[in-house]
């Protein structure tokens, strides 16, 4: 306390001290006073605990006061020291140190506070981040949709980094390269990692001026995020304009030029990229952001994987849902079908029972298992009888039984057999024709019986029978025939068909309708009934009011149309019929019967009588009468059917009667029409004045476009000139001229007759010409064909004759040659011959050998093939010949080109002969190429054009030789024709070849080819085996 007593600070010090004491006293006394007051005023009983509390307070206050005093003392000391130091007191140094220490302390305190503040801030941030991560993970756990999840990720990332703009791209395989990428193993291949194979899909976007559309695609190459894709690393760019990876002008909308792209991995695969930009603080992205985001994204990668899986599952679920729906639909459909089937079954059951066809099921042995009511009815059995058991085999006529059993076996064996006709027996023993369709009943896989239908053919057979009659009648009617003959034939047909005893036909003759033809009626009946006209006692015709003769009896009724279809014995078609004349006469009145009856039919014993009118249009021109002594011969159907026939007969008769005249005029007309193909009229200047239809058709123009125009308008100049000359000549001479003309339009030939058209008025001068033009193309063609055929015939006949001749000649030559030859040989053996003679004799023998060769060749042509013909591959045959020639071809430097068709049919040939033909052709080819620069022998085989009876194979032998002169062409196949030097060739090679090919039924011809050489074409028929045998037989004979 010594420091306080300083002379200079005495009064001031005292002051402070004083004040301090007062304060101390007040602090100490005031509570005491308060407590005391409270105690005395409030009548409080002071318990020890309260006293202790008070004492403690007072002690505390005392303590505080002491401390205060100490501090004050210290400060006072310092202050004194400071004062002393100003006076250079040594003690001050120590104090100065204290002060600076105090300053340091205060500074560091400041620092501490600052640091503390910073740490707190950082802590808050970390807490926030941690909170975000926690929230994100929690969210991620909940979110299953990728899109939602990505939204959350983006939101949190932005929140954590403070970015204001952000987007998330998913990495997807571009579907265009899907196959390529998916095919390659894993995703490791550098090839498949090309950005071009992938693309970014925008799944979330926030803060852009214009939001990126969700699910839109961004090419990886065009995005900054491609570096993330390529390097699989975080892309942190501080300055987009300076960074080596980007080097890109900054878009002001993104704020500062810094951005951050974060990869999101699932496993090792890059699944998505998060892009962040524009920090709200305007700062750049730093390592801190990178770190936090890495943790954050690492945390949620599992969720992402889940979400991806989920979306996959979702897709599958969707698929299976569709599938289920489909299945349900199918089930529904099947149910409907089943219902329909049940419905059908019901229907069929109904059909089975009510169909007017016999349906059956029988066992293998023929026992009836099921049958419908119609079957029982058809066969005359009751249902009970059927139920008791029947064997179907007994229902067939015995002669069919074997066939039936065989057919049953066939059906059981699964053979498809259509309806088969049989004759079956009813219960009453009557038989009827049927057609049966049957199929096997398969139980498991074993046929156990047959099921089918029986169709009663009785009616069909009948109608078939009727139809046959109609056909035959119509046939007869349409064959040109004498009238009488025709009617007779028809009567016979009808009689044969229905087995009626007597049939007659009445036809108009004058005013009456006598029988034209009858069959089966006794002569006296015909005589008595011949005429229908009623005559009075003077034998004059009785006529009605219109003057028509009165026709008696029922026949008269029919012919005059006096019928009444309300009566049972008349039909609507105007026929009369009865099965019992006796009953009819007894039960009806004269009035009903329309006319006076002669009753001759009934009295002659005819019970069944039918009278059917023969009509030609409306007119009745006669009638058909059917009489039989048996009753019940007719049915209404039969009568109606005959009415139909009656109409046909009527028409035919009418036609025949007028046919002759018609025929005549028709023939005339026809010949006229046919003769004028084209007719037209022109004036002197060849202007068309008229064309007929035939000619118009040739123009194929409407008449108006032809009339008034000139001939030269439609034809060439040359043609027009020729035409004009003809017209002029006709006009000049007045005489018709005929010219052949070949149409330039279609190359057809016409015979044109130019005739003067006489004008009645001006007879002295002809100004118009009629041209009639007739198409003679076919005629021409025919003529040409005929000429060709004649030529060919002549040619082959000539050759054949030559062949016969040459054989005879050869024989005749060879005998003397033989003698000369022997003479020569004997001469040669003589001794003492001069050497010249020996030489000359040798020459003689050589020349004789030439004669022999010629004779030999000559005969070959006419010889019939004696070798058996064999099937032979022509290609092999040609090869054989060429083989023989190979060395010669080489020596002569001939190139051989061979083109074989491999699948040729093999013809039957005499191989030796055929070889000779090829041999001859090849020899010729080689000879005629002698001295040529280009020597090519080309042999081709192939299929020829088939005709009606045979296929052909074709052999072509072509050379590049001198060819054949046109004038020689027709002669090359003739014997002794040669263009070789005398002695070099016999002129028989082609002649013999020709004969051989002809013997084989083939053809040979020659042509000059483009190379200037000759080409020979051979066509050989491929004869069938049977034909071949016949050919061979002939050959042997």
């Amino acid at each position: 306390m010594a420091g306080f007593s300083s002379p200079r600070g005495g009064p001031q010090k005292h002051n402070i001290r004083y004040k301090l004491v007062i304060v101390e006293a007040l602090i100490f006394v005031l509570p005491l006073l308060c407590i005391t007051y409270i105690i005395y005023q409030g009548d409080y009983y002071l318990d020890p605990s309260h006293l202790i509390l008070f004492s403690l307070i007072i002690l505390l206050i005392l303590g505080g006061l002491i401390t205060l005093r100490q501090i004050f003392e210290r400060i006072a000391t310092i202050a004194t020291s400071v004062k002393k130091a100003e006076q250079g007191d040594m003690i001050a140094v120590d104090i100065r140190e204290d002060v600076s220490e105090l300053h340091d302390i205060s500074l560091s305190l400041n620092n501490l506070v600052q640091k503390f503040e910073e740490t707190t801030k950082e802590l808050t941030r970390r807490t926030f981040e941690l909170f975000m991560i926690k929230e994100l993970t929690e969210n991620a756990k909940k979110k299953l949709s990728i899109n939602e999840l990505m939204d959350v990720i983006l939101e949190k990332c932005m929140a954590v980094t403070g970015a204001q703009i952000g987007s998330v791209f998913m990495v997807e395989v571009d579907p265009r390269h899907k196959s390529l990428v998916l095919k390659s193993p894993a995703n490791a291949s550098p090839l498949t990692e090309k950005p071009a194979f992938y693309r970014f899909r925008v799944v979330a976007s926030k803060g852009h001026e214009k939001e990126l559309e969700r699910d839109s695609y961004i090419s990886i190459d065009k995005s900054l995020a491609k570096h993330v894709f390529l390097e699989k690393k975080i892309l942190l760019v501080q300055d987009i304009e300076k960074d080596q990876r980007t080097l890109k002008a900054n878009d002001p909308q993104y704020g500062p030029p810094s951005f951050l792209s974060m990869p999101i991995f699932i496993g090792r695969r890059l699944a998505a990229v998060v892009n962040l930009a524009h920090k709200e603080t305007g700062q750049l992205f730093d390592g801190n952001d990178e770190q936090v985001l890495t943790i954050m994204l690492g945390e949620i990668s599992f969720a992402l994987e889940n979400a991806m899986l989920h979306s996959e599952i979702d897709k599958e679920l969707q698929k299976s849902k569709t599938h289920t729906i489909k299945l349900e639909q199918e089930i529904e459909e099947r149910k409907r079908v089943e219902a329909a089937l049940r419905e059908n079954e019901k229907k069929y059951k109904g059909l089975f029972n009510f169909l007017p066809i016999s349906l059956f099921e029988i066992s293998k042995e023929g026992y009836v298992i099921t049958s419908n009511p119609m079957s029982a009815k058809t066969f005359g059995y009751t249902q009970e009888e059927v139920n008791r058991g029947l064997n179907a085999l007994r229902m067939f006529v015995p002669e069919d039984l074997e066939r039936v059993q065989a057919d049953i076996q066939r059906v059981l064996n699964g053979e498809q057999i259509g309806g088969i006709e049989y004759t079956m027996i009813r219960k009453d023993g009557s038989t009827f024709p049927v057609i049966i369709f049957a199929s096997p009943i398969i139980y498991g896989s074993i046929p156990v019986g047959l099921r089918g239908a029986i169709i009663d053919l009785t009616e069909r057979k009948q109608s078939e029978e009727h139809q046959r009659l109609v056909n035959r009648i119509l046939e007869t009617l349409n064959t040109p025939n004498e009238m009488t003959n025709l009617i007779h034939k028809i009567l016979l047909l009808v009689k044969e068909h229905i087995g009626i005893e007597a049939i007659g036909i009445r036809l108009r003759e004058g005013e009456d309708f006598p029988y034209y033809e009858t069959t089966g009626f006794p002569p006296h009946f015909v005589e008595a009934e011949n005429y229908l006209c009623a005559r009075d006692h003077k034998n004059e015709l009785i006529r009605d009011s219109q003057g028509n003769p009165y026709l008696e009896c029922m026949c008269g009724n029919i012919i005059c149309g006096r019928t009444d279809s309300s009566l049972p014995f008349f039909t609507e078609g105007g026929s009369f019929w009865t099965n019992r004349t006796t009953e009819l006469l007894a039960s009806t009145f004269e009035k009903d019967r329309q006319a006076r009856m002669r009753n001759r039919c009934n009295s002659a014993g005819y019970e069944s009588v039918a009278l059917i009118p023969l009509r030609s249009g409306e007119e009745i021109i006669g009638l058909l009468q059917l009489n039989d002594k048996r009753p019940d011969c007719f049915t209404l159907e039969m009568i109606q059917y005959f009415e139909g026939i009656g109409a046909s007969i009527g028409i035919a008769i009418r036609r025949m009667r007028s046919e002759d005249t018609l025929k005549e005029s028709e023939a005339k007309y026809r010949s006229l029409a046919a003769s004028i193909d084209s007719m037209y009229l022109v004036d002197r200047d060849c202007t068309y004045l008229f064309v007929n239809e035939g000619h118009r058709i040739r123009f194929d123009l409407p008449v108006e476009e032809i009339i008034g125009r000139k001939y030269e308008n439609f034809h060439s100049e040359e043609d027009a000139q020729e035409f004009a000359e003809c017209v002029r000549e006709v006009c000049k001479t007045g005489k018709p001229i005929i010219r052949e003309h070949r149409s330039e339009r279609d190359g057809r030939y016409f015979l044109r007759t130019f005739s003067p058209a006489m004008d009645r008025g001006a007879a002295e001068e002809i100004s118009k010409v009629v041209i009639v033009s007739k198409d003679i193309t076919d005629l021409k063609q025919l003529e040409r064909d005929l000429q060709n055929a004649r030529d060919q015939l002549f040619h082959s006949e000539k050759l054949a004759a030559m062949g016969r001749l040459s054989t005879g000649v050869a024989h005749e030559i060879l005998n003397p040659v033989n003698i000369i030859s022997m003479e020569l040989q004997l001469l040669q053996t003589m001794e003492n011959l001069p050497p010249e003679a020996t030489e000359e004799l040798a020459i003689c023998r050589d020349q004789l050998n030439r004669i022999v060769t010629i004779a030999e060749n000559l005969t070959q042509f006419a010889r019939v093939p004696t070798k058996p013909m064999v099937k032979c591959d022509i290609n092999i045959l040609i090869d054989r010949v060429l083989n023989i020639y190979s060395s010669q071809l080489k020596i002569k430097r001939v190139a051989t080109v061979v083109q074989y068709q491999s699948d040729l049919p093999a013809p039957f040939i005499d191989t030796e002969k055929m070889e000779q033909v090829i041999f001859n052709l090849v020899t010729n080819a080689i000879d005629f190429m002698e001295g040529k620069e280009k020597k090519v022998l080309q042999i081709t085989t192939g299929k020829g054009s088939p005709d009606k009876t045979h296929d052909y194979i074709k052999i072509t032998v072509a050379d590049t030789g001198t060819g054949i002169r046109t004038e020689d062409m027709p002669k090359i196949f003739e014997p002794f024709f040669t263009t070789r030097e005398p002695g070099k060739g016999t002129g028989l090679g082609l002649y013999i070849s020709y004969g051989i090919i002809q013997d084989h039924g083939g053809r040979i011809r020659a042509e000059n080819n483009e190379e200037g050489g000759a080409t020979f074409f051979i066509e050989l028929p491929v004869i069938r085996d049977t034909d071949h045998r016949i050919a061979q037989d002939k050959g042997v004979r």
């Binding site: 024989h811 060879l814 040659v817 033989n818 040989q825 004779a855």
Partner: protein, 126 residues
Amino acid sequence: MMERILIVDDEIHTVRLLQRFLTSKGYEVHTATDGREAIQKVTEVKPHVVLLDIIMPGMDGLDTLKEIKKIDSHAAIIMITAVIDEDMAKKAMQLGAFDYVTKPFDLDYVETCVLVKIIQVLGSDN
């Protein structure tokens, strides 16, 4: 014993020349100009070899061949035929002819042919 040869041909010069040739070769040669005469000669002289022309008027070579075979089955018959009628010669071989020579003759060949047969015949006699 000289080997006997009968020559049958309707061509008189052929017969004459063959006779001259074969005689010069040392054979006993008989001739005939038709089938009947040939058969008669065969009976008479029993030739070892018969040279028989196929185409002859009247009885032809094939018929003659059959007759000769009936009379003397040992006689060797060599048919004479034109070059163009080889088929007939082959037929004759089937009927029992020993061989055939073709006109025009190569006389050396004819002799060889005859000789071969003679050697055979004589060989079998021994």
